[in-house]
Subunit: 312 residues, 2 copies
């Protein structure tokens, strides 16, 4: 791993992604007492940063592998991302989704020509089904977050952010499965001399916080819920070592803080973001005394949210 | 009036405004069958294009006039815009607002140091109060839409849009008091050889449509309502001649079409826009057969909306 390698990753994914804008707001800067820069992956293709990792993972496949397609298990943004990235590459994407996944999520995958395979809703059932299909189709399994190429792809958002704002003292990201924060940590290491990476989590699903504290991957209680439902997933053996080595800290926030931060961004920035994206800004707001006059980047992870069912 | 004059207007307002981004969406282009470019004035300072006209109107005042401040009557975006533009110029802004205006609108004006003067809610009472204060303070009255400098300032959004997309065949704007569409029509005349300007209105308050048809300024029925409440105002003697001469046509849309267009933009573009902005996109959607393979610009007029009280 070195800077040149990550530049190559970026060059490979560029044709498949948007270079998303970096927005800022005078009012928010005054409110926080810092210079805050929002990297708007809600404007990314399919509405989330996951497009970057999916595109990179497909770009490294051989022609023979490509022909047999790719497979993942996800009911969230990665399902859509892999479907769209595969469609652009002209190859099939098999998406294992729980039977009880919302119709709107199934429709989104279908709109990108993803081939849905239903499973029971436990993690074990999803993984077993993915393995069955992988063997049957010869497709390449691509984990949504615990895959080196996915991790490197997700890091390209921070590469672009640091390219525009090399002065950043911090980059905040939400932490779900760990792909985004691990990729961001690598980007900060190789594209900045001093920028620290801070992870942020809902207190209700603070597995990454506990993992970093204990040094071992921790899990969330079955049935633990949060409005930032994309962040209920846990870290893996590919991303946790990177996180342990390069992430400064993980900050936890309450549900009401997530909702307030989300509303503030909608009202002040005039952008539609999903609750997971608001977790990072909530953490900055909550600890603003620590970032006085600093330059703080925030990865707005996505904007796929049901606008008819908002928490405010 | 000539191109050089409008370039000077643009140069004068530049320090007071954001150059807002022009966004587009592959999905929306496929849906419409045209190349659609959204000029995002929801990202403008104070959240609406009105900042442009307010800044220009203040920029042309003499030092003596500036010292005595400015006055307008508005309970909408222009009240905030004039307050903020005046604050930036270091001069007082007196804002006549109806007593019964929502507290959130009064708070917004106060947040920009606007000095609120309450009146009864009829148009006559507001105008009388504005005249009283004007005489008392010696402040310069600046009408929200029927003022040459305001009209020219509002046109700078279209100048920027045509600078980035000189190929545009059409620019669509909402029509309220007529300042935006008149300014846009002048910009199209001097900054494009072929771009037509189309106005759009809620059918419930179609005064501009009827004005263009009859050749005389028409009004709306007392109590006529629309979700796009910023568009209930009527044209004036400064902007109507420009509209008559340079606007191609005015398209009317139904309330449900406005709401559907608004929801589509929130969901697909991931941006927060107010209902008035959605009127223009609703008109494009409704008549998409007429714009097949054309390049269509849309001025997204603003994003000041109560996110806790949405129509979907």
């Amino acid at each position: 791993m070195n800077k040149e390698f990550l530049i190559q990753v970026h060059n490979r994914v560029k044709p498949s992604i948007h270079r998303t804008p970096v927005l800022s707001s005078m009012l928010i800067n005054e409110m926080v007492g810092a210079n805050v820069f929002f990297k708007c992956e809600n404007f990314q293709k399919m509405g989330a940063f996951k497009m970057r990792g999916a595109a990179n993972a497909i770009s490294v496949l051989s022609e023979a592998e490509k022909q047999k397609g790719v497979i993942t298990h996800s009911s969230g943004n990665f399902a859509q991302a892999l479907s769209l990235a595969a469609k652009k590459a002209g190859i099939p994407a098999y998406i294992v989704m729980p039977k009880n996944a919302p119709q709107v999520k199934k429709d989104a995958v279908k709109s990108y020509d993803g081939i849905i395979i239903e499973s029971e809703s436990t993690a074990e059932a999803r993984e077993a089904m993915a393995e069955t299909v992988r063997l049957e189709k010869g497709a390449t399994f691509i984990h949504p977050s615990n895959n080196d190429d996915v991790i490197h792809g997700q890091g390209t958002a921070a590469i672009e952010l640091l390219d525009e704002h090399p002065e950043l003292d911090y980059i905040f990201t939400p932490v779900g499965g760990g792909g985004l924060i691990a990729g961001t940590a690598l980007a900060a290491k190789y594209f900045s001399n001093h920028c620290k990476v801070v992870g942020t989590e809902p207190k209700n699903v603070d597995d990454a916080y506990r993992s970093l504290k204990s040094g071992k991957i921790q899990f969330n209680l079955n049935g633990a819920t949060t409005i930032a439902d994309g962040l209920r997933t846990f870290l893996g053996d590919r991303n946790f070592p990177i996180i342990k080595e390069h992430v400064d800290s993980i900050i936890r926030v309450e549900e009401h803080e997530i909702i307030e931060a989300m509303k503030l961004i909608w009202e002040r920035m005039k952008i539609v973001i999903e609750p997971s994206s608001a977790v990072a800004f909530a953490a900055v707001l909550k600890n603003k005394e620590s970032y006085k006059n600093k330059s703080v980047g925030i990865i707005i992870s996505g904007g796929n949210v049901d606008v008819t069912n908002l928490p405010f």
